[in-house]
């Protein structure tokens, strides 16, 4: 190669080299530039500008740092950089909704950000420094932020006890228990469920046709407007029997198998036809008389029933027993009469109390149920099934096991299957990649998955064995919340030391009291020291509250004059001996510690004091806004017409000083009464007596937020 060419080539090379160096420098500059343009730095700068535009700039910028900030709590496995962008999170002056995000202050909650971090409640990716990675699911960061509507599930990860601030979570846990989800699934911190009825003798109760119909179309369904309906009537109730997707052959086989379950024959109870004829002769329409009795006995306190009022038919009644609108077309007369007399003979775990029936009342009520609570069209679309064949029964038994029926229903001789469905105790912390979405078009995240699975199990997994439940939106969200709170076994969690455990209720039944108590199933509605139902007043301190004689009289003839209450205690027809056993035991053994029955001497309450008390009641404190005396007053609190016979003076005294000390969920506000005023008001209330049968209700309605609230 000639020498001059060497130089030329060298120039070209130099040029190339120069250009590539410039390119290299430029490319190297990308990194610091990218860093300068990082999303979080943008929020840092915007915050400074935002703060400078306000009058409280100095306070807002007092802790400002231009770098990444983080809350690091190694003991709880928290590394949260959220405060890098959410810089005003602890500034109370930024609480207003008009403050733009991400600078708005956090609403005041019991756990502050410095001590708890953010992701413990909100989930998402704490260490991420980009908005999309912190809040959403990306390939590398799988845990999205929890939508605010389901935030209460995070409370449930640590709080296993009932937390009044989280109504949605508590409702969800209640539903998981009521629907017996634990029959198939393993779940944590959900109360032990009540099982579905034992079916060992169901063949004596219903026909094969009815079973066919029931399995094909359980009574609770969604109507076309998306409302839950029971037997065609709108209802807020959850369905207990779900719908299984059964083929015609499966329906025939299962109904055949179940209709042959006749383990224990019904003991027939015959009422002499001649006697019945005599009743009919006096007043021919026995069913109508039965209806009056049915209403008087307040059966609807436990059993919902379709009632038409002002042209609108609605289900009215409690949720302890099954809905009865069409039960007359379901059961036969012999079974019904035996059941009404001795429910536990048929179903040992039944909550139905044993009433003290007279033959006449028993017969009339049964006629009402069979004739009026019936629907002749109920079984119209059911084919004639005839006698069950050997083959059908065999297939039916196999289906009974395959479909997981044993998870809720027992049949003598068939052992229950364990762990029928998947373990759900760690469902709440699953990543989207661990879930099967099948061909469904829902969003790929856990919340959407749970909701789709609950609404239609087949939509995400065509081979799902889970039956179809009926939900209204609020219940669906509540159950989703409760399921999201199932975040794994406590012993492996970094939060183990924080768990707030559920307190176990203790209430021991002894002696004759226990027998009466069990016979009338008091626990089904009443609560004692945290154990029992919540439909009726908590009776943990009934002995301190009510006078013994009043309790006995009330049990003989339970009455309420609270006009707003639809439900009240049923008429049990207790004997005098039973009422005195209950009254004796309750007044002695069920006391509030600290309320001394001797603390107020009734003899020292003079009529002068009572007169002053009356003035305090009517003028100074205007208690009539909530309580009724005579015929006037409000009906928020109990009617006080018979307070003198009903309440003990010691209880009234203690109640006036601090209602919440006696009953924490009482809605009566605590007042600033002086000692003198307390004595005068007590004296006045103790003069209020009704000579006739006792009247009065227990505690004021401990108003739980209800789905039938105002404006709904």
């Amino acid at each position: 190669m000639p020498a001059e060419d060497m130089g030329k080539l060298s120039d070209k090379l130099r040029m190339t080299f120069a250009v590539s160096t410039v390119v290299c420098v430029l490319v190297l500059a990308i990194s610091p530039l990218k860093d300068f343009l990082a999303e979080w730095k943008h929020y840092k700068r915007t915050y400074v500008k935002f703060a400078q535009g306000r009058t409280d700039t100095k306070r807002l910028l007092a802790d400002y740092s231009p770098s990444i900030e983080q809350v690091w709590l190694p003991a709880m496995n928290v590394t949260d950089r959220c405060t890098t962008c959410h810089q005003g999170i602890t500034q109370t002056s930024l609480a207003d909704a008009a403050v733009p995000q991400p600078f708005r202050a956090h609403p005041p909650v019991p756990h502050n950000v410095r001590d708890w971090g953010c992701s413990i409640c909100h989930r998402g990716q704490g260490p991420a420094t980009e908005l999309s990675e912190a809040h959403e699911t990306t390939l590398a960061w799988e845990q999205p932020i929890l939508p605010a509507h389901f935030l209460q599930s995070s409370c449930g990860s640590c709080h296993r006890d009932d937390l009044k601030e989280t109504p949605q979570l508590m409702r969800g846990r209640e539903l998981l228990s009521r629907l017996n989800c634990q029959g198939c699934h393993k779940l944590n911190y959900v109360e032990k469920p009540k099982l579905g009825p034992d079916l060992s003798s169901v063949g004596y109760k219903v026909t094969r046709e009815w079973i066919y119909k029931w399995l094909k179309e359980p009574r609770t369904v969604l109507d076309k407007d998306g409302n839950t309906t029971v037997n065609g009537y709108e209802s807020g109730e959850e369905s207990r029997m779900p719908k299984f997707r059964l083929t015609e052959e499966e329906l025939k086989a299962l109904s055949a198998f179940l209709s042959m379950q006749k383990a224990k024959p019904v003991t027939p109870y015959k009422i002499n036809p001649a006697v019945v004829a005599a009743w009919s002769k006096q007043q021919p329409d026995l069913s109508s008389q039965g209806e009056v009795l049915f209403r008087q006995m307040m059966c609807t306190t436990c059993h919902p029933l379709a009632v038409t009022r002002a042209g609108e038919t609605k289900l009215i009644g409690g949720n302890i027993g099954p809905e009865l609108t069409k039960v007359g077309s379901k059961v036969n007369e012999q079974w019904l009469i035996a059941w009404l007399r001795e429910p536990q003979d048929y179903l040992a775990h039944a909550d139905m109390p044993r009433y003290g029936w007279t033959d006449e009342d028993l017969y009339k009520v049964s006629q009402y149920v069979l004739n009026r609570l019936a629907d002749s069209d109920l079984l119209t679309n059911v084919p004639q099934l005839g006698n069950a064949t050997e083959e059908e029964i065999k297939t039916g038994k196999r289906l009974f096991l395959d479909k997981g029926c044993t998870s809720c229903h027992s049949i003598s001789g068939i052992p229950p299957q364990k762990d029928f469905g998947p373990d759900l105790t760690a469902l709440g912390k699953k990543n989207a990649s661990e879930l099967e979405f099948g061909k469904s078009k829902i969003n790929r995240n856990l919340v959407s998955y749970i909701q789709a699975k609950l609404q239609d199990p087949v939509s995400v997994n065509p081979a799902a064995r889970m039956p179809q439940y009926t939900w209204n939106q609020a219940d669906l969200d509540a159950v989703t919340t409760a399921l999201l709170s199932q975040t794994g076994d406590a012993s492996t969690s970094a939060l183990q030391h924080l768990l707030v455990e559920k307190k176990e209720a203790t209430f021991r039944l002894v002696g004759a009291f226990a027998q009466v108590f069990q016979r009338y199933k008091c626990f089904a509605c009443h609560r004692f020291n945290g154990y029992g139902g919540t439909l009726a007043p908590d009776l943990s301190y009934e002995g301190s509250r009510a006078q013994k004689k009043w309790i006995a009289d009330f049990l003989k003839n339970p009455q309420t004059i609270r006009p707003t209450l639809i439900l009240r205690m049923p008429q049990f027809n207790m004997t005098g001996k039973e009422t005195s056993i209950l009254a004796e035991y309750l007044s002695l053994a069920v006391q509030k510690p600290g309320v001394d029955p001797e603390s107020v001497d009734a003899r020292q309450l003079t009529s002068t004091m009572a007169a002053k008390g009356r003035e305090l009641y009517e003028v100074k404190y205007q208690c009539q806004s909530c309580h009724t005396i005579g015929a006037t007053g409000g009906y928020v609190g109990p009617n006080l017409n018979n307070a003198g016979n009903w309440l003990t003076p010691a209880w009234v005294d203690a109640w006036l000083r601090n209602p919440q000390a006696l009953q924490p969920d009482s809605i009566e506000p605590r007042r600033n009464f002086t000692d003198e005023e307390v004595h005068e008001l007590t004296a006045y209330l103790m003069t209020l007596r009704v000579g006739i049968k006792p009247q009065g209700t227990k505690s004021p309605a401990n108003g739980k937020p209800s789905s039938q609230g105002a404006g709904r």
Partner: protein
């Protein structure tokens, strides 16, 4: 010889660019944080059940307290059925009555709930809740009242609509 050296030098220049460039990617779309979080809860508009009012944490705690303590006298329908409102003289205002309540300051409402009506020269039928509810709970109830107010509540002197009416 020299050509090879050039190639090596070029490669040396280009190599460090690769890791730098590899970090480049499309910027993720920025989502509105309010949308990402959603509403903590909802309350149907009392005057129009087809509309839902969005509630934040504060307002929804206020709703819980309202439906336990206040609903009996400050709404026309209650969880137990009929309302106690008509038994009162003077009749208590509905909790969503913006015409009556929007004009009152937060401090005034806080006081009347804490101390009762008579302490502020109003009806004794409004009892004091200062010893039963915490100050926070009372603030929550006021926040709930503001959220459901009809006509909508505007915070005095601050721009922008409240969260609840969005």
């Amino acid at each position: 010889m020299k050509k090879n050296l050039c190639k090596a030098l070029l490669l040396l220049n280009v190599l460090p660019c690769i890791p730098v460039m590899s970090g480049c990617k499309k910027q993720a779309p920025v989502v509105n944080p309010d949308v990402a979080f959603g509403a903590y809860d909802m309350e149907p508009d009392w005057n129009d059940a087809t509309k839902q009012v969005k509630l934040g944490y504060r307002e929804s705690q206020g709703r819980r307290v309202f439906y336990i303590y206040c609903v009996w006298c400050h709404a026309d329908a209650t969880p137990a059925g009929p309302s106690n409102r008509s038994n009162l003289t003077p009749i208590a205002p509905l909790m969503n009555d913006g015409e009556k309540l929007n004009g009152e300051s937060d401090e005034y409402l806080q006081n009347i709930i804490t101390l009762g009506g008579s302490a502020l020269g109003k009806s004794e039928m409004m009892p004091p809740y200062g010893k039963t509810l915490s100050a926070e709970e009372i603030k929550d109830v006021i926040a709930f009242t503001r959220a459901i107010a009809q006509p909508a509540y505007q915070k005095p002197g601050r721009p922008g609509p409240p969260y609840g009416t969005k």
